[in-house]
């Protein structure tokens, strides 16, 4: 299968002059088409930073990221925007919903930007709204809905355009276990049926057990990697817990 995302010796340094902080330290990462990858690690480990760089929202200080065969260093701003709009779906940790738009408008925004015709657009919105059980709040504004509803709205917006790469930053953080399971199931569907590539950050071992592979990050470095392989989800879940325990100091932060 072809490689969708490839990061080479990727480094991200925040701040400058005397006050530098290395958020990502020479990370190498390869994700192939259709993979469902989890990213775990203590708070402040650099998970969101990693996703942001992969999403081309942030630029690496050094190293390179190749997406779909093209290095983002060589891409112009217009191309990067086009990539984010056409290929990428991002579920942000802080939702990033537009407070001036209704839930429905927020969800359909990527379709509108892609200039899809209205009938198809409405159909797609109805499907995702149904999938995430937010049909009843479509006409509300973000400040009128709960955190979990916001998160589901953000998820709906990220997948509505059927992107080939989905990056999710703690997509289940604000959800009850039923909604979380629903969301994870739909992500899994997308990766299995539509061959969408998914990277999701999570603190939750249960959520991680849905993934085919889980990367562990600590202090900006790749700590280890777990592959689900042939085992059951339950077995995988226990393995993840083991690694989290081994991550040590951060363990109390993690769960």
């Amino acid at each position: 299968m072809k490689t969708i995302v490839e990061a080479k010796r990727m480094k991200k340094i925040y701040g400058g002059k005397g006050n530098v902080f290395t958020a990502l330290d020479e990370i190498d990462l390869t994700v192939r088409e259709g993979e469902f990858v989890g990213i775990m690690g203590p708070s402040g480990a650099g998970k969101s930073t990693l996703l942001n760089v992969l999403a081309t929202i942030d630029t690496p200080t050094s190293g390179d990221v190749v997406i779909d065969g093209t290095s983002i260093i060589n891409m112009k701003e217009e191309q990067l925007s086009a990539f984010r709009r056409d290929k990428l779906g991002f579920i942000f940790q802080d939702y990033n919903l537009l407070d001036t738009l209704t839930v429905k408008e927020n969800i359909l925004l990527p379709l509108a930007l892609a200039k899809m015709n209205v009938a198809e657009l409405e159909r797609r919105v109805a499907i995702v709204a149904d999938k995430f059980a937010i049909g009843s709040i479509l006409e509300k504004y973000p400040y009128q809905i709960s955190g979990g509803q916001k998160q589901r709205t953000a998820a709906a917006r990220a997948i509505v355009a059927k992107p080939s790469l989905i990056l999710a930053d703690e997509p289940t953080g604000a959800l009850d276990s039923k909604s979380a399971t629903d969301l994870l199931e739909s992500l899994k569907d997308l990766s299995e049926q539509d061959q969408a590539t998914i990277l999701t950050v999570t603190h939750d071992a249960f959520a991680a057990s849905y993934c085919g592979r889980v990367l562990f990050i600590k202090d900006g470095k790749l700590f280890t990697e777990l592959v689900k392989g042939k085992g059951t989800r339950k077995e995988f879940f226990n393995k993840v817990l083991d690694v989290l325990a081994a991550l040590g100091g951060g363990a109390s932060d993690v769960i």
Partner: protein, 638 residues
């Protein structure tokens, strides 16, 4: 931490807000000081012949300026305060005593004000020289402008601004006492609710504006003040509702068209605008009203200046004309005029005129101070009229017979009514005589008198009436280069002081030049100030908006909107915010010009200056637009 170091930290942290407020204050001082130093300038007093009457105009204009700077400073102060409420709340939360905070805010404002006045006066000194030169140029004066600081102007400025700044300082001091902590923290979120548009208010806006436009042309009451108040109320309230409801309503309606609304950035642009309009209805109303007042004022002023020659020619169609008293005087006057070799006589006429009382109730126009039943009416024979037309280079060969007559529109008649077909009745001692107008002239033939009703009648009728009422004779001269006949005009004035209705083109022309020169200068000055103010207000508003939109555009960029698309939607939204008040302003102005000043916009001599004024206004305004888009783009598109 001492209070001083806290204050300093404050200023550093909020530098942009401080700067905007500070610049607004300096701007106000510069404007005001510049203006009053013109008022006290000796050079100007020397160049204006009728300084005493002009002084009162200057004083009136400076009162307008005081009003204006007060409003402007209060506005920027409110803007500044709103931005700082949170910070003030924070101090309170950190345990700084209210009294201390109040004192700090008071002194901060006072010190900024004092520095602003100082800088303003210095800048104003430079500017006032420039403006003095401009004014003198408009007056065609040759006096040299020296460089000086007028003590009276400084004093005047100090007094005015001390009061304003003291007031705002006290207000700043009260801020901490006036609000609860929680209110201070939520200040930024005010006016950000999503707007709902009520159909009633939207329709109300159209009705109010249409109604006031309509009564401008069809007065519903004789009382000027009531009429004017009604029109003003309609326009102000209508405009406010227009921005508050109608626009929001239309934008909401445009959302119904899904295939347009759900397309690209339209979704963002439309919602942003809806979001903005309601919160800014008051500002936008103020801006469109200010624009229309400014435009009207400058148009009227410039129109006057542009048409000085035409106006003077209407006041005094001949270079010189006076009523003949006796031959000795006539001879002396003739000598004076002939001696002036630089202004050779091109034509000389004896114009015989009869004055009778006439009943003009059939006409729409009634001269001020007269009853329509009996108005002094002056008659001229048609043959005389044709001679006049020839000397004044007017293509006219009028023929009248029997009771036919031709009217010359009186100077103050602003009714635009056509006199043709109407009749008036001349009251003669033997019998009354009705005459019927078959022709109407807009251009006048003799110097202005009150009530200024001139009628051309057939030669037959004229000789008939002359048998009953004795005619009198005007001596009228047309000379070359009549604009510069200063010496002859003075000599004639000395010779023909009384009861001769002496009218010289030169006197009328210089009088017009002076008063319109000052008019255009004052109006232009005020207009410029208003323009700068409206431009700045929108600029600051939009910048402020850009700051609060920053995050939204950030989100959009994250989901794949390119920088160029952000710039495009930003330009469109800003254009909307700029253009709408301008269009509304121009519309109001056009109606006001037409109604209140009786300006006939189709006339070329009036259209050209007004068009030029509007064009200049729009160009400067567009400059503000470009600046605003640039600055906002720098904020949201980093």
């Amino acid at each position: 931490m001492t209070l001083f170091s806290v204050t300093r930290k404050n200023i550093q942290g909020n530098f942009k807000n401080y700067l905007i407020y500070f610049l607004s204050m300096i701007f106000s001082v510069v404007i005001y000081y510049t203006f009053v130093s013109l008022q006290y300038s000796e050079e100007i007093q020397k160049s204006i012949q009728s300084w005493e009457t002009m002084r009162s105009i200057f004083v009136q204009a400076s009162i307008m300026l005081i009003l204006f700077v007060t409003v402007f400073i209060l506005y920027s102060n409110a803007f500044f305060t709103k931005k700082r409420k949170k910070e003030v709340g924070l101090y309170s939360l950190l345990g700084v005593r209210k009294k201390t905070i109040g004192k700090m805010l008071f002194y901060e404002n006072l010190i900024m004000g004092a520095i602003a006045v100082l800088i303003g006066v210095l800048l104003g000194t430079l500017l006032s020289k420039l403006f003095t030169m401009m004014l003198l140029k408009l007056l065609s004066s040759t006096i040299n402008v020296s460089f000086s600081i007028s003590f009276e102007a400084v004093l005047n400025t100090l007094i005015v601004f001390s009061i304003i700044i003291l007031f705002t300082s006290i207000q700043a001091n009260r801020l901490i006492y006036r609000f609860k902590l929680i209110e201070l923290f939520h200040a930024e979120q005010e006016g950000e609710q999503v707007a709902k548009a009520s159909v009633g208010a939207a329709a109300g806006s159209i009705i109010l504006i249409a109604f006031s436009y309509w009564i401008v042309f069809h007065p519903i009451t004789e009382q000027q003040l009531v009429q004017l108040s009604l029109v003003l109320f309609g326009i102000v309230a209508g405009t406010y509702l227009l921005f508050r409801s109608l626009i929001v309503y239309l934008l909401r309606a445009s959302q119904k068209n899904k295939s347009r609304y759900y397309r690209g950035m339209n979704l963002i642009g439309t919602t942003q605008l809806i979001y903005r309009f309601k919160g800014n209805a008051r500002t936008l109303t103020m801006i469109s009203l200010l624009s229309s007042v400014t435009l009207c004022a400058i148009s009227v002023g410039y129109g006057g200046y542009y048409n000085i020659e035409k106006t003077a020619r209407n006041w005094s169609p001949f270079s010189y004309s006076y009523i003949s008293k006796n031959e000795v005087f006539d001879h002396q006057a003739d000598q004076i005029i002939l001696e002036d070799k630089e202004h050779p006589v091109q034509g000389k006429l004896d114009i015989s005129v009869i004055q009778v009382n006439g009943d003009i109730s059939d006409l729409e126009y009634v001269p001020y101070g007269y009853a329509a039943k009996s108005v002094p009416t002056r008659l001229i024979a048609v043959s005389t009229y044709n001679q006049i037309a020839k000397v004044l280079n007017r293509e006219e060969n009028l023929r009248l017979s029997g009771n036919e007559a031709a009217a010359i529109r009186p100077w103050q008649d602003n009714t635009f009514s056509d006199y043709v077909g109407h009749t008036i009745t001349l009251k003669l001692s033997e019998e009354n005589h009705s005459i019927k107008f078959v022709k109407m002239f807009e251009e006048r033939v003799l110097g202005w008198v009150s009530p200024d009703i001139y009628v051309v009648v057939s030669d037959r009728l004229y000789t008939d009436i002359a048998k009953q009422v004795k005619p009198f004779v005007y001596q009228a001269y047309k000379v070359k280069n009549e604009k510069s006949t200063i010496e002859t005009a003075k000599k004639l004035e000395k010779l023909l002081a009384k009861d001769t209705e002496l009218s010289t083109f030169y006197t009328m022309y210089t009088k017009e030049l002076e008063s319109s020169g000052i008019d255009i200068f004052l109006l232009g000055f005020l207009g410029l100030v208003f323009l700068a103010a409206t431009g700045s207000i929108i600029y600051f508003k939009q910048l402020n908006e850009a700051y609060s939109d920053q995050e939204r555009y950030q989100i959009l960029r994250k989901i794949g909107v390119s920088k160029r698309e952000v710039l495009t939607t930003l330009s469109k939204q800003t254009l909307f915010v700029f253009l709408l008040p301008l269009v509304v302003g121009i519309l109001h102005c056009t109606i006001i010009l037409k109604a209140i000043f009786g300006v006939n916009l189709a006339e070329k001599t009036i259209m050209i200056p007004i068009f030029m004024v509007m064009a200049a206004y729009v160009i400067i305004y567009l400059g503000y637009y470009v600046l605003t888009v640039k600055s906002s783009n720098n904020i949201v598109n980093k």
